[in-house]
Amino acid sequence: MSSSAPGEDAPGESGASPGGEGADPPRALVAGHGDFAQGIISAVSQIGGRVGAFVGMSNAGMGAAEITDAMRSHLDESGIGVIFTDLPAGSMTIAARRLLRERPGLVVVTGANLATLLDFAFHAHLAPSAAAQHAAEKGRASLTVAGGQGAAGGEGAGGG
């Protein structure tokens, strides 16, 4: 488990409640800045009721080595084979990529959003790597821009 630095935001796991009836063992780690993991897992639960698919962790209060150690502990303890991170350039992503070197079967998805995690949660019948690939495509497709054609300077025009 991740350690807590004194006086800082509580790092470590967040939001991975058992999920109640029919709860499945966690299949993925959601790793993000601040309360990202806790918040997005809560949103998955509200929409899909499948919060048990995920374990969350925050990087709050941790240096790079601690983040990697905490992430490794989560994987060891749960057998999780997929990590979703929030920011491609973030410290969580760097740590996850480090673990990729140790664990060739690990799958890392960066830039995860709610559509990504919902799709993953609802594809529990797929192998984790296939579900992660499917979820990444869903998350990418969920990003759209609407409106803005009348804005000064024309930004957003033709944005699809």
């Binding site: 350690s3 630095a5 004194p6 006086g7 800082e8 800045h33 209060g61 941790m62 240096g63 790079a64 080595a65 601690e66 983040i67 920011l87 491609p88 350039a89 973030g90 410290s91 992503t93 760097i94 990529r97 480090r98 070197r101």
Partner: protein, 163 residues
């Protein structure tokens, strides 16, 4: 002056650096000064993947960074010079007298360190090193992101700074 920030951050290249500082300062390049990373292609590739298109990252030992500093300073783009620990920044500052300010961006909990700010933990030796930098005329302050108030070293060491 092309180098906008000399930052100590044990996470090295990460969101606060690339996005938090990188966007408002319009950063075009990062110099990651770390003897270990400079000697590892794999580590370099890891950090290179964290940098968005259009932003260059250069890897250098302290000696290499000191030798190339004039080139960084003459670069028409804005840049950040980044070290992962205080000791490395002190060595760089000793070799490059034109460095006049150092930013404490993230020095996290580790055995032997005492918390000074939410994101700054220091050992007695690290505190002495920072005092030495300040005694040589460098402005040392802590500021994790641009929107935060810079906390002068005296306040950092006194534990005054987190609102």
């Amino acid at each position: 002056m092309a180098v906008e920030l000399y930052r100590i951050d044990d996470r090295l290249i990460h969101g606060q650096v690339v996005v938090g500082w990188g966007q408002p300062l319009d950063i075009g390049f990062i110099v990651l000064v770390d003897d270990e990373v400079a000697g590892s292609d794999w580590e370099q590739e890891l950090y290179r993947m964290g940098v968005p298109p259009g932003m260059d990252v250069y890897f250098a030992t302290v000696q290499e960074a000191a030798a190339a500093h004039a080139r960084y300073a003459a670069d028409p783009r804005h840049g950040i010079v980044l070290t992962g620990d205080i000791e490395t920044m002190c060595r760089l500052a000793a070799a490059v007298p034109s460095i006049r300010a150092v930013n404490l961006g993230g020095i996290h909990h580790r055995p032997g360190r005492t918390q000074r700010l939410r994101y700054v933990f220091l050992s007695p030796a690290e505190e002495r090193a920072l005092r030495d930098l300040a005694a040589r005329g460098l402005a040392v302050s802590a500021q994790d992101v641009p929107a935060a108030r810079p906390v002068p070293l005296a306040d950092v060491l006194a534990g005054r700074g987190d609102a």
